[in-house]
């Protein structure tokens, strides 16, 4: 039985090591490969921390297994050795983890600044926010500035409105303004690795650069009420050209006066 427990604790680091080695290639950690430029940096950080944690876990477990195994195979007559602390060892296990933690916090600063510090946002994104996203129980309301104008904090005449569908140009950094109409929500696009709380009373800028055209899920990641689970929208990344076409179509629809159709069909008949 003693040997069983020793082997039991040696078994787990082997499993952990295997999982850590295999997981990235099998995509066990993330819903997909990162689809935004910041996503690569965030995943990189994740894997860096994973390696540090895996090495620590495997190391301590091997130590534990070794001690257990030695105890288990000890002859019955042998006396145990008593030791009371070791200054050197204690200094070691205090200093080494502190260095590791300081190392992690310094390494992630760069990425954190890239995501959160407005001054570090790419210039082209910061100067022209594409839309304002207002979270609301339980939907995402989108406001684009009137084509050709700058997004303003207050609604302006000619602004374009939509709901639960955010269009952005692909392959270029874009910035959106996030706010909420009621409680706290969080703007979470899992494949883009973007997650930002929306806080009542604040306008929070977020930026991302989607690398591939397509449809991306936008969900709420802050429990906001009973309908939280279905507070979903889609982000559509498309070429600059079709993005502008979309906005133009939205503008036409928003100026719909109910008679334009007839005039168009009448001219078709001619």
């Amino acid at each position: 039985m003693k040997k069983f427990w020793a082997l039991f604790f040696i078994f787990w680091p082997i499993v952990a090591l295997y999982v850590c080695l295999v997981a990235p290639s099998r995509n066990w950690w993330f819903p997909s490969a990162p689809m935004s430029s910041v996503g690569h940096q965030i995943d990189g950080l994740f894997y860096l921390i994973l390696i540090i944690v895996a090495v620590t876990f495997v190391g301590t477990q091997v130590g534990l297994g070794y001690a257990l195994w030695k105890g288990a195979t000890k002859k019955s007559g042998e006396k145990a050795v008593f030791s009371h602390g070791s200054h050197k060892l204690e200094i070691m296990w205090t200093i080494v983890p502190s260095f590791v933690l300081v190392f992690i916090s310094l390494t992630q600063l760069e990425v954190l600044a890239n995501i959160r510090v407005l001054a570090r946002f790419p210039d082209e994104a910061r100067k022209t926010p594409v839309a304002e996203v207002t979270a609301r129980q339980f939907e995402w309301r989108i406001r684009y500035p009137k084509p050709g104008t700058q997004l303003s904090t207050e609604p302006q005449e000619g602004d374009l409105y939509f709901v639960n569908e955010l269009h952005v140009p692909v392959s270029q950094p874009v910035m959106v303004h996030l706010r909420t109409q009621d409680v706290q929500h969080a703007f979470f696009a899992p494949k883009l690795r973007v997650k930002q709380d929306a806080v009542p009373g604040l306008v929070i800028p977020i930026w991302f650069e989607i690398e591939k055209a397509g449809e991306y899920e936008l969900v709420c990641a802050e429990l906001c009420g009973w309908g939280h689970y279905k507070m979903k929208a889609r982000i559509i990344a498309e070429s600059e050209e079709s993005y502008l076409k979309y906005l133009a179509a939205l503008e036409t629809d928003q100026n719909e006066d109910g008679v334009a159709d007839e005039a168009a069909s009448a001219s078709d008949e001619e």
């Binding site: 609301r136 939907e139 609604p155 639960n164 979903k232 006066d257 109910g258 008679v259």
Partner: protein, 479 residues
């Protein structure tokens, strides 16, 4: 009394059993009847039991409604109604049963096509009328179906049936129960469990009235109107957008909402026929006036046996007519003139009309458009009971306090397109105290639309023209 630990141990087992047994029992949801139905005397609600063949059972209001609409588990399709129940109407062309294998060939009316897939067929007429048979193999090109097992009786050519009947209703029901029923209620009465926390209250469909439509003031909502609300939500209320549902999901929800709405309207109109004479209140008055209760009940019996059946049919016809016409292009409001280009002159004209005696918008919406006109502090009488309401202000047909919109907010519940605002003014907001202005020249309505759309961007009352006074150079330098 305190329980010792040993007692607890004995109690745990029966409690657990009760939870397991209770939790697993099948849950049956059912439509509820309106308060107006339950205000009738019991005989009018439940009808009369059949005593002999000479005196068969007579249906009351509840039975009449159930016969036509059923219950959530057992929905009935009243084919007269303009609801897409799903399924393909067809007739049996050939039937053969060889060596225990039954094959049926179906034909459809000219111009219609057989479905791609088929899993069941509901027989409507013939020896097997009312039964549903399962299809194990289906050939969409020839309409040949192999049935699962042999039917209990012969099917003969010419029997009419519905292939995969009710599929739209079924998917609509599932979606409705998941996404809508907690606010709008199983019966569409706007009284689901979460409804009590909401202001404005969720819509009660049973009046057959929807507020935000593209149709004229006398029309019902079109399918497109309901679809728009489902897709885009209603800003300013708790109705969220369901844009991410697929088109077919939205369409089946629209049909199910129409179904619930028609059910409520049918029930309501049936009760209207009886409420005057046979509500509990009316019967109490009549007995006080000297009539005997027996005489009243036998009068009711006579009415339920004959007049109400006719009335029910004509109510059905009327609803079918109303709802189908409302779904055609004729019912849609089309302005006779294109939108008057937005300009300061048009806005000024719009404001004049807004304040004018003819339109009198300011009476409710206030002189400055803040939704605080004099009507909001007047006490109204309930048009049905004649009693004054408890709180001041305007009330809609659902008896909810109906706040005139504050036009400064820039939130437009029925949509912010100019045509949406045009329709709001032209047809009014159905069920609410916003009246129809259909006799106003369309050009004038456009002026009002232009004015209303400009209100959110007006400078605050009392503010001086700062924007005008500022030198143009300052604006150019601003970051």
């Amino acid at each position: 009394m305190s329980l010792t630990p040993s007692w607890n141990r004995f109690l745990l087992l029966p409690m657990l059993t009760a939870v397991v047994a209770g939790g697993c029992s099948e849950y049956n949801s059912s439509f509820v009847y309106s308060e107006r139905t339950t205000s009738l005397i019991p005989e009018a609600q439940d009808g009369f039991k059949g005593e002999s063949e000479a005196a068969p059972a007579i249906s009351g209001v509840k039975q009449l409604v159930d016969d036509r609409f059923g219950n959530p588990q057992d929905l009935k399709a009243w084919l007269k109604l303009p609801v897409e129940f799903g399924g393909t109407q067809s007739a049996v062309a050939e039937y053969s049963a060889v060596e225990g294998v039954a094959t049926v060939k179906f034909s459809v009316e000219e111009g219609k096509s057989l479905p791609e897939t088929a899993s069941s067929v509901h027989v409507v007429s013939g020896a097997l009328a009312g039964e549903t048979l399962l299809i194990s193999n289906w050939d969409a090109t020839t309409g040949q179906a192999t049935l699962e097992g042999l039917p209990s009786k012969e099917i003969s050519a010419g029997d009419s049936c519905v292939i995969d009947g009710g599929t739209v209703m079924q998917s609509g029901r599932v979606l409705y129960m998941r996404h809508c029923s907690h606010c709008h209620g199983t019966s569409g009465d706007g009284a689901g469990p979460t409804a009590q926390y909401l202001n404005p209250r969720p819509r009660d469909y049973r009046h057959g009235i929807f507020k935000f439509t593209s149709t004229t003031d006398v029309s019902k909502a079109s399918r497109q109107d309901i679809k728009r609300v489902l897709q885009y939500g209603i800003p300013g209320t708790y109705m969220p957008s369901f844009l991410l549902l697929t088109d077919s999901e939205i369409n089946s929800l629209v049909e199910y909402v129409r179904f619930l709405s028609l059910r409520g309207e049918y029930e309501r109109k049936l009760v209207n026929e009886l409420a005057g004479d046979f509500s509990q209140k009316a019967v109490a008055t009549r007995t006080e006036g000297g009539e005997s209760r027996e005489a009243i009940v036998s009068e009711l019996k006579e009415m339920l046996a004959a007049d109400i059946v006719d009335a029910a049919n004509s109510i059905g016809d009327g609803m079918a007519e109303d709802w189908s016409v409302s779904d055609t292009a004729e019912a849609v409001i089309v302005p006779t003139v294109a939108r008057v280009p937005d300009s300061p002159e048009s806005r000024r004209r719009g404001r004049e009309l807004y304040l004018s005696k003819t339109l009198n918008c300011a009476d409710c919406h206030g002189v400055d458009g803040a939704g605080n006109g004099p009507q909001t502090i007047a006490y109204e009488k309930n048009p049905i009971t004649g009693e004054p309401y408890n709180e001041a202000g305007l009330h809609d047909v659902w008896d909810n306090l109906n706040q005139p919109r504050n036009l400064h907010r820039g939130i437009y519940r029925g949509g912010r397109r100019p045509i949406d605002l045009f329709a709001r003014i032209h047809a009014g907001i159905k069920g609410s105290r916003m009246p129809s202005f259909k006799n106003t020249p369309h050009e004038d309505i456009w002026h009002v639309v232009n004015y209303v759309l400009s209100i959110p961007f007006e400078p605050e009352p009392g503010a001086t023209g700062v924007a005008v006074a500022a030198p143009p150079a300052a604006a150019a330098v601003a970051p």
